[in-house]
Symmetry: C2
Amino acid sequence: MRTKQKAFSMERFFLALGDNTRLRLLNLMGDREVCVCYFVEILDQPQSKISRHLAYLRKAGIVTARREGKWMHYRIVMPPHIGATQVLQQTLAWLREERIMEADRARLAKACCSPRKFVALQGAPRPKVIAPATSSLSR
Amino acid sequence: MRTKQKAFSMERFFLALGDNTRLRLLNLMGDREVCVCYFVEILDQPQSKISRHLAYLRKAGIVTARREGKWMHYRIVMPPHIGATQVLQQTLAWLREERIMEADRARLAKACCSPRKFVALQGAPRPKVIAPATSSLSR
DNA sequence: TTTACATATCTGTCAATGCGAATATAATTT
DNA sequence: AAATTATATTCGCATTGACAGATATGTAAA
């Protein structure tokens, strides 16, 4: 059983966005579900670092995880407040406009199209576009 | 001469929003210019704490200060990136919807209407609505 | 059940930030 | 110029969070 979630807080929400690695992760997710192994390859950072930041985002209520065999897939979920949802949408739009973020997305696209070039990704499940993330409020 | 500003960074921008005191300050400013003494009274926190957080917001490029005699007035300025501007606007909208933030604004309104009830505010310059904050981009 | 792989968590260290208390600076008044 | 008012900065300490490296857990394959 998962440890009890702290109540959603505005402060925590913004703190979660206040780290470059986490912003890069959110940018890579965008509107799709991405396997952890892709993050590790694309960002070229130690796996433990990626995992820690994903956990942080999860605790802040910004992403959720789904296990599929030995792979974990992460995706963005809209937070339980309209206001937060709209801020997050704007943030994602902002990410789409940043050069560095664009470069990350390009590397991900490349890895998806020809995973053979990324030895570590042989056989890993590809990112999949998902239905537009909805706020937990708009049921 | 002011010490050199660090370049605007997305990370820094969100870190600046990731503190409850700073969110309350931004909420009180909204679309007006507010004197430090009002913040101290309304939030009922030590002056040094208020000042430190205002300095943080200033360094993050989210507010500017203007001196008028012995009083300092702070106001929100839109950051030098369209994306940041839009996120900030959404954030302010979100603040307007939060209960606790509403209560702060109510106290400010009260202090403005009858500063006599707030001894410390006798003679202090009242908050003034300003032209809608514009991004430094849209000159 | 052993092994291998993917991911998560723990450990120790370091830097950043929060805080109250005290002090410094700037403008105004006396 | 001294005293007063408004605000800013500094100090010492506690907390948080980032990091690399080591280790633990969960799942599947052999």
